[in-house]
């Protein structure tokens, strides 16, 4: 028999937690961005898994996954552009050192 849905969901949750941990713990801004990507892909796994197990006739799940890819790509492009811009000005990519908004 095939693999049950819960396994996929556990995988996705694990991947999401790894991404979240990366986002919260890493000092490097690029690493934070990588964490975000992991979280997005965890979501994608969920979307595709739900589509396959619950409603394989419709294409909506796949469409959502593709939209998330596109958004992730755009987000990475913008995020990297911001990081490069910050690096040029402050000569750092460490998130803690970018503290202009601090009181």
């Amino acid at each position: 028999m095939s693999i049950p849905l819960s396994w996929y969901l556990i995988l996705a949750a694990a991947l999401f937690c790894i991404g979240l941990f990366g986002v919260l713990s890493r000092k490097n801004a690029i690493a934070i961005l990588l964490g975000v990507e992991l979280m997005l892909n965890a979501v994608n796994i969920n979307l595709v898994a739900f589509w396959r197990y619950l409603d394989p006739v419709q294409v909506a799940g796949q469409v959502f996954a593709i939209i998330v890819f596109a958004v992730a790509a755009a987000e990475v492009a913008v995020g990297l552009a911001l990081i490069i811009s910050i690096y040029r000005r402050r000569n750092t990519v460490v998130a803690d050192e970018v503290d202009l908004m601090k009181w």
Binding site: L20, L24, W103
Partner: protein, 725 residues
């Protein structure tokens, strides 16, 4: 139209003319005077129709024209106003209509209609004359048109309305309204040339002096109304009401309070007290002593105004009102009221006559003469000679209007002379600047002579003789010897100063260049003179004493006017003494007047320029001392310094200081601590401190925010799970 309707609408045309001129036609001089004269003509026509219809009624005194309407609701009944023409008002209406119309027409000429505009004339000042150049380039000065021409006609229109209203009223209220309208117009017209200070002062003097009388009159009206509940003449003069008023004490409470004064106070009956109060109104209006001072000063107005106010209408209105109130005065049981009236009249008659002797201004002589003649009428009333007073009222109105208009004509002619010579220092009203005008102004001379002879009581021919003789006969016949003698002396003086005036003005040779160049006035001025002269002679014939004519001609006036009263007064028994007296005083006065002044050239040669007479017995100075200076003193010391500066300003300052203190208190103890510091600054500080505290959570590390938001999400999720699931 029914007679009553005519009487109702009779006073209205002049009022309409007033509004038309004031509102619309002020700019158009010819239109304005046409409207005014037309209106006076309509009223004249109405008056004549009413008069003629009144003549046609047999025993008119018992069947008068009367009509009333409900006006004001007073509780369950109505206050009624209405019109009434009885024999007295019919003859009054007759002379008022004639003189008013004549004066309106005369005013056209007097105010130089048709003449060019003056070179430097201003509204509020008499015209100064205009310079004209003829074809040869020769310049000469002519009279110029009055700058406020239309305004004058508007005012005299309103004035005529007041007089007609007064005459046709059947009650004291509308009569008083007409009375006051005339008071206002008198003020406006005396002050017509308001650019002159003397005219302004004279206007104020006239208004205030007559006001003194009017206040008492109003008191009398109010008392009468509260006593009888009506102001209608017919109601008031019912025999039973008159008798009740005549027998009731006027001041019972006062007499009880002061027993010492009881005999004095108890002699006043209600009828007498009210009658005297109303009579004080007459004293003011007819310029009787002691309220006579305004009338001579009123000569500041244009001459038609002098004729209108001081001869034909307003002063006559005073006597007319006194005649109307005669039954009331007569009802006084003690007779004191009539004695007071007789005294005031006789005293005024002689008092004013003595002043007139020493006046040099042609109009002032006539002014004092008017006061004196009004005194004759009042004295006649006081001795009970009701008809004689009414008769003299009518004849006097005609010949005095004639004399005033004649003097205006003389002044006008003299102004012509003044403009010709260009010497403006010559007073065109001073009789010593005249002389010999009979040749220059023949129509004026002859008419003035007729008027003057009528005033003097020239025997048989003139109206003044018949009316004055009747007064003297009545005074003698009713046993009032003191009044008779006083009036006889006054009549002598009257003839004397009249002849003095005629002699100085018209006879002899011209004393100045100005009088040499005097000029007869235009027809608009001379025609009224001629018409009035006809009445000054002819009107006397309707009231010829039957004793003198031997009963050939009935004394129509006596029969007619006497019917106004419930009981027709008896004509005084015939006596030769008053007749001889009036013959002597008239002819003697005229003769001595001519004898004394035929050769007088200047005031220095005039032996009668006695200071006390010249200064009018110092009454102006006396009143100045008694009333005007104290009034100024009171207004300065009490009203201004005490009342205004101390009391009122003190109250205001106290209020101001209190408000200031309150403001300070509020500012220091409420606004600053509560509003500013607690609410205003407190809110700011609170927000600032809250912000200062809260800012510490803004650590600036993006991951710290994320942790915080994750914690919050977890908490919310757990809480949601626990609470909802």
């Amino acid at each position: 139209m029914s007679t009553e309707t005519i009487i109702w609408v009779l006073p209205l045309p002049p009022l309409l003319a007033f509004f038309l001129i004031v509102l619309f036609t002020n700019k158009y001089k010819a239109l304005s005077h046409s409207i005014a004269v037309g209106a006076a003509g309509l009223s004249w026509l109405g008056s004549m129709v009413v008069f003629i219809r009144a003549l046609g009624v047999h025993e008119f005194g018992k069947e008068v024209f009367e009509s009333t309407v409900n006006w004001l609701p007073t509780g369950s009944s109505w206050f009624q106003i209405g019109v009434r023409i009885d024999p007295l008002s019919a003859v009054t209406l007759f002379f008022v209509a004639w003189t008013v119309l004549m004066i309106f027409i005369y005013s056209i000429g007097y105010h130089n209609f048709g003449q060019p505009k003056g070179d430097h004339d201003h509204a509020g000042l008499p015209p100064h004359g205009a310079t004209l150049a003829d074809e040869k380039g020769h310049k000469h000065t002519v009279l110029s048109i009055e700058p406020m021409y239309s305004r004058f006609f508007a005012f005299i229109g309103l004035f005529a309305f007041g007089m007609f209203t007064l005459v046709v009223s059947n009650n004291l209220l509308t009569m008083f309204v007409g009375w006051e309208v005339m008071g206002l117009c008198s003020y406006l017209l005396i002050g017509f040339w308001y650019g002159k200070e003397s005219a302004r002062n004279a206007a104020i003097k006239a208004f205030i002096t007559t006001r003194v009388g009017d206040v008492f009159m109003l008191l009398g009206v109010a008392w009468l109304y509260s006593y009888t509940g009506t102001l209608n003449f017919r109601e008031i003069f019912r025999p039973e009401i008159l008798e009740a008023m005549g027998n009731t004490m006027a001041f019972p409470a006062l007499a009880m309070r002061f027993p010492a004064l009881y005999p004095f106070l108890s002699s006043f009956s209600v009828a007498g007290a009210i009658g005297i109060l109303l009579f004080i109104g007459t004293v003011g209006k007819s310029a009787q002593w002691p309220l006579h001072v305004w009338l001579p000063d009123a000569m500041e107005g244009p001459t038609p105004v002098s004729a209108m106010i001081h001869a034909a209408t307003m002063v006559s209105a005073g006597v007319y009102a006194a005649l109307r109130m005669f039954p009331l005065l007569h009802a006084d049981q003690s007779g004191d009221a009539l004695t007071i009236v007789a005294f005031i009249g006789a005293f005024t008659a002689i008092f004013a006559a003595t002043i007139a002797v020493a006046q040099n201004d042609i109009k002032r002589v006539l002014a004092y003469s008017t006061i004196s003649q009004l005194g004759f009428m009042i004295a006649a009333l006081g001795v009970g000679a009701y008809v004689a007073a009414a008769f003299h009222l009518v004849t006097h109105a005609f010949f005095k209007a004639l004399l005033f208009l004649g003097s205006g004509s003389v002044i006008h002619g003299m102004e012509h002379g003044v403009l010709h010579t260009g010497d403006h220092s010559v007073d065109p009203q001073n009789m010593f600047n005249m002389g010999g005008l009979r040749k220059k102004m023949p129509i004026t001379f002859w008419t003035f002579l007729i008027g003057g002879f009528a005033l003097s009581g020239f025997p048989v021919l003139t109206a003044g003789f018949w009316s004055k003789d009747e007064i003297l006969a009545d005074a003698f016949g009713h046993g009032h010897l003191a009044v008779f003698i006083t009036l006889a002396v006054a009549a002598f003086l009257t003839a004397f100063y009249t002849m003095r005036q005629i002699t100085l003005t018209f006879l002899g040779e011209p004393r100045t260049k100005e009088s040499e160049h005097a000029h007869e006035t235009p027809w608009t001025m001379t025609v009224p003179l001629i018409i009035l002269a006809v009445f000054a002679v002819g009107y006397g014939w309707v009231g010829m004493s039957e004793h003198l004519t031997g009963g050939l001609v009935p004394n129509w006036f006596h029969e007619f006017v006497g019917g106004t009263l419930a009981e027709v007064p008896e004509a005084a028994p015939f006596s030769i003494i008053p007749l001889l007296t009036s013959l002597f005083v008239a002819l003697g006065g005229l003769f001595f007047g001519w004898l004394a002044y035929r050769k007088v050239e200047s005031p220095a040669q005039d032996k009668l320029q006695i200071p006390v007479l010249k200064n009018k017995w110092y009454f102006d100075e006396l009143y100045n001392f008694l009333f005007i200076r104290p009034a100024y003193w009171i207004s300065e010391q009490f009203t201004y310094k005490f009342m205004d500066s101390t009391v009122i300003d003190g109250i205001l300052h106290t209020v101001g200081r209190a408000a200031l203190g309150l403001g300070h208190g509020l500012r220091n103890y409420f606004d600053k601590p509560v509003i500013n510091e607690f609410i205003g600054d407190g809110t700011g500080n609170l927000v600032k401190k809250a912000g200062g505290g809260l800012r510490r959570i803004q650590v600036g590390r993006v991951q710290a925010y994320m942790v915080a938001s994750m914690v919050v999400v977890i908490i919310v999720a757990v809480a949601y799970y626990l609470l909802v699931m």
